[in-house]
Subunit: 162 residues, 2 copies
């Protein structure tokens, strides 16, 4: 995948980032029991990092935009197994459902913390080794890098208050 | 990518499909000048067909759900070139922006035809050879197969009226 020069991005309100840092910690610790490290959030470059699995969820109402939770395969396999309490074959409907449900929980917990009158959509899950997800070049996006059991995942936020 | 047995799916209202058949014809003919063939819509299997580029857009309000426009690379390259009136290097931000804009136009034209008080989100674009996109197993999804210049793309609908 060719990575082109990042274009200049607008800022994203830091108050919109903290609820996701909290929700990813909460959901991962309560639902998988895995220790999660959350790194410093940073502006996403375009096209950006490659991942193997992504859960995508839309916000509408008081908060609008998209939240993407992207996993390297090693992270996805371990997180799904810890979540389901048994191994699940990658690239199956059950595997995608588990990642979609985790994405839904992370977005849902953050939504509660906002207290805004926002709705979240049904999750869409992308499965494909080394895929890249982009938003329009002029839309700000912040990536929150995370790791669990030595493997990487990231929560990518492209949202704003209305 | 392993393809597992399709799970039973609910039906999607045919009245929600026709506006997208019309909008894909309209947008492709006016914006790219390419002749587009639209096949019979069918229930999506899980995980489903592999594509190389996908534009994803969310609906909220009177219509809720997700619309995905997925392209094989040959189709994406030709459609983007016809849309931009010049070749654009695949896997760049400009290439993704063009596919996102086409997805936005297709969803926007269908939304107008619904006449419902619906909103559409900013498009998200997935770039990755042979990726598969899924929704939760119990959410109905209809695929409208299309082709342009001998290459395949598809409009996948997972929407309902509220």
């Amino acid at each position: 995948m060719t990575v082109t020069e990042p274009k200049p991005m607008h800022k994203l309100d830091p108050k919109l980032i903290v609820p996701f840092v909290n929700s990813v910690r909460l959901v991962m610790s309560t639902m998988t029991g895995l220790a999660v490290t959350v790194g410093a959030s940073k502006i996403r470059t375009i096209p950006g990092a490659e991942f193997d699995y992504s859960g995508i969820i839309g916000f509408s109402g008081g908060i609008v935009g998209t939240v993407v939770v992207s996993f390297q395969k090693a992270a996805a396999v371990q997180i799904v197994e810890a979540f389901a309490k048994c191994p699940i074959e990658p690239d199956t409907a059950d595997f995608a459902d588990a990642l979609g449900e985790l994405t839904n929980m992370i977005a849902g917990a953050a939504k509660k913390e906002f207290g805004a009158n926002a709705s979240i959509s049904i999750p869409t899950v992308v499965m494909g080794a080394g895929h890249v997800i982009t938003r329009p070049s002029d839309v700000p996006c912040v990536s929150v890098p995370c790791s669990a059991a030595g493997a990487s995942f990231a929560v990518e936020l492209s949202i704003r208050k209305t």
